[in-house]
């Protein structure tokens, strides 16, 4: 926890530098500020949620419902603003509230009822999406106030839009909380062993609920970002995002069993996935193939360290 770069983070950094070099070599446009902003902007919802997902997985849980919560938030916003005529600012707050409530629901069933988070959030993945569909059915809503759309589409500071800005701020905040803060320490301990934490007097149920609420909140925020950025909302917003998000976190070196991983690793993994996809787009590789390559990378990310230790064990001391 004290070193900035562990062996895995160093490895990710090397991979990232290689991808950046290759991309810059293939296309001179890659390194332009505008392209770098676009690179984030296209997946800003996923990468934002990934930062909190890191907490969820380090805490030895999983949240499959984030994509659906994102969709629910976006649909609720669209319904409130487009059909009920609620002021957009108020609607935003209500949607964030929905995110907190949904996260609480997940957390309560996991932490207080003791159900596996895989099952609970699979149920809410279906359920939250269901509520989103009840709200919008098969309609598409897209008439949002100009200031709202501008937040999602235009630069807030220079060319940097709100989404990227909030991503960077959230990263810094969560980095400090996870690596330096007491909350982060508890997240690791509970992830290693909930019993050890419970016996040491930590309120593990409360901690888990808080993390799920943070996950719901950020997913709801991502839904709003999506509504602002794309300008139109349908019932399927965010569908399937959960798996991409989890991939980024795992690639970042967070153990699926909890208790280990760093936000630095997750940040590097996000950059790798984004630049890899961007580079492949520049080479006209389609989206499904891009996802496949990221999938290969994910498996490699687990196999490489394992092979490394095996080789180290074989070599005579």
């Amino acid at each position: 926890m004290t070193r900035i770069l562990g062996p895995w983070e160093t490895f990710l950094l090397v991979v990232l530098v290689l991808i950046y070099a290759a991309n810059a070599w293939i296309s001179p446009e890659f390194l332009t500020l505008q392209n770098q902003v676009n690179l984030f902007q296209l997946s800003i919802e996923k990468v934002t949620i990934a930062l909190v997902m890191a907490f969820v997985i380090i805490n030895a849980e999983i949240d499959l419902s984030v994509g659906s919560m994102m969709g629910l938030s976006a649909c609720a916003f669209a319904t409130l603003v487009g059909e009920a005529g609620v002021p957009a600012a108020l609607a935003c707050l209500l949607c964030l509230g929905v995110g907190l409530a949904g996260g609480f629901l997940n957390g309560w069933f996991v932490a207080r009822m003791g159900l596996p988070s895989l099952v609970v959030t699979l149920a809410t993945l279906i359920g939250f999406r269901g509520v989103a569909r009840i709200l919008l059915e098969d309609r598409s809503i897209g008439s949002f106030p100009d200031w709202f759309a501008a937040l999602g589409q235009r630069g807030l500071i220079g060319p940097i839009p709100l989404g990227l800005l909030s991503f960077v701020l959230l990263f810094v905040l969560l980095y400090v909380v996870l690596e330096r803060g007491g909350f982060g320490r508890k997240t690791y301990v509970i992830g290693v062993s909930r019993d050890v934490a419970e016996f040491a007097g930590l309120d593990t149920a409360r901690h888990k609920i808080l993390i799920f609420m943070a996950s719901g909140l950020v997913a709801a925020y991502a839904g709003l970002l999506f509504a602002a950025r794309v300008g139109a909302v349908r019932g399927d917003v965010g569908q399937g995002f959960e798996l991409d998000i989890i991939t980024m976190v795992l690639l970042g070196g967070v153990s699926i069993f909890g208790g280990s991983g760093t936000l630095t690793g997750v940040g590097l993994a996000i950059l790798i996935v984004l630049s890899l996809r961007n580079g492949m787009s520049l080479m006209n590789v389609t989206g499904h193939i891009q996802t496949g390559v990221v999938g290969l990378l994910l498996i490699a990310s687990v196999l490489i360290p394992r092979l490394g230790t095996r080789l180290a064990r074989r070599s005579p001391a």
Binding site: M113, L122, F128, T247, L250, G292, I299, R306
Partner: protein, 342 residues
């Protein structure tokens, strides 16, 4: 004292829920319980039940397979391409082909999980994307349409085999149920299959007891892949039009059916019959909500989510109660036996 195992109790409870749900909608919707409802559900269940059955095998070993939907899609496209280029291919050979395609993908998953030691959620999460991109590459983003297929294949899902009380039992559904029952018999009666339960129940103990845990896990993934491959053929026959997104979402739907059917996500307990009933329940609710006037059809996912959540909660509470009862009963019985020994 009843000798019903928790597993049997679960199945009975599930059947009861099935009947209650059916009765509820029968009271709400005119002319609800008819042959059309049965046909709709049975032709959908034919596909989902196979995948859920495979998913159950994997979950029993304390693993999970998120790539089954992609395997269904690939198999649907590949068998479609096969039968388009060779329309005279014998149906049995085509079925074997679909099984082989699925088993091949399952083998990749299984090797990585069992022999390379990569957690299954990571392997199959990645495999889901990789298999899907293999499909894109293989198909060249072309689609298969019903017109390309031989008539016998298009007719297969609707081919009535026999009729009971006015309900048509069609070929695909009967085939799927027969396969699930066969898998169930194998799981309960064949000794090598019992290893699946042992490995999921306590992996360390399995290794120490001399069970080849790796081979068992590999076998589960291969079998699940094969079943998903066959489901791909059924998918092709039913829908005819196959694009690169075919089978998307089946991975989660199959987990939902298995969990609803009482399969423990922690491995070691559950049955494929439960998963089959879970799949039926899911489809019953979906098909019923479409015809229920009180809410729109868009309620079906919300209801399904709620149903899964209540099912696992009820199950957890019930199991806790049962455990307490057992402890109390043993305690009541204990003094007599303990005093007997000096």
């Amino acid at each position: 004292m009843t000798r019903l195992s928790p597993g049997t109790l679960r199945i009975l409870a599930l059947l009861l829920v099935l009947v209650l749900v059916g009765a509820f909608f029968a009271s709400q919707i005119d002319n609800y319980l008819n042959a059309r409802l049965f046909n709709r559900i049975s032709s959908s269940v034919a596909i989902v039940a196979l995948i859920a059955c495979g998913q159950t095998l994997v979950i029993l070993t304390r693993n999970i397979d998120l790539s089954l939907g992609a395997i269904v899609g690939f198999s649907a496209y590949a068998t479609g391409a096969l039968v388009t280029t060779a329309p005279d291919l014998h149906p049995i050979l085509l079925a074997l082909g679909s099984l082989a395609i699925g088993a091949g993908f399952g083998l990749v998953n299984g090797l990585l999980v069992a022999y390379a030691g990569v957690p299954s959620i990571i392997v199959t999460l990645a495999a889901m994307a990789i298999f899907r991109s293999a499909l894109v590459e293989f198909s060249g983003a072309q689609s298969i349409t019903t017109d390309d297929l031989p008539q016998w294949l298009v007719d297969f899902p609707n081919l009535p085999l026999f009729t009971v009380a006015g309900l048509q039992f069609r070929a695909a559904f009967v085939a799927a149920v027969v396969i699930v029952v066969l898998v169930h018999l194998a799981l309960t009666r064949l000794r090598p299959a019992r290893a699946l339960y042992a490995v999921g129940s306590n992996p360390d103990a399995a290794e120490m007891a001399g069970i080849d845990a790796r081979r068992t896990v590999l076998a589960a993934f291969v079998a699940a892949g094969a079943l998903a491959g066959l489901a791909g053929l059924f998918f092709l026959a039913r829908f005819g039009n196959i694009t690169v997104v075919a089978g998307l979402g089946f991975e989660l739907k199959s987990i939902a059916a298995a969990v609803l059917g009482g399969v423990s996500i922690n491995g070691g307990s559950g049955s494929v019959i439960g998963a089959l009933i879970g799949a039926v329940l899911v489809d019953l609710i979906e098909n019923s909500l479409v015809r229920w006037d009180v809410v729109s059809e868009f309620w079906r996912e919300a209801v399904l989510g709620l149903l899964i959540l209540s099912a696992v909660t009820a199950d957890a509470l019930l199991m806790r109660r049962l455990t307490r009862l057992r402890i109390r009963r043993e305690k009541a019985a204990a003094p007599a036996t303990k005093e007997a020994t000096p």
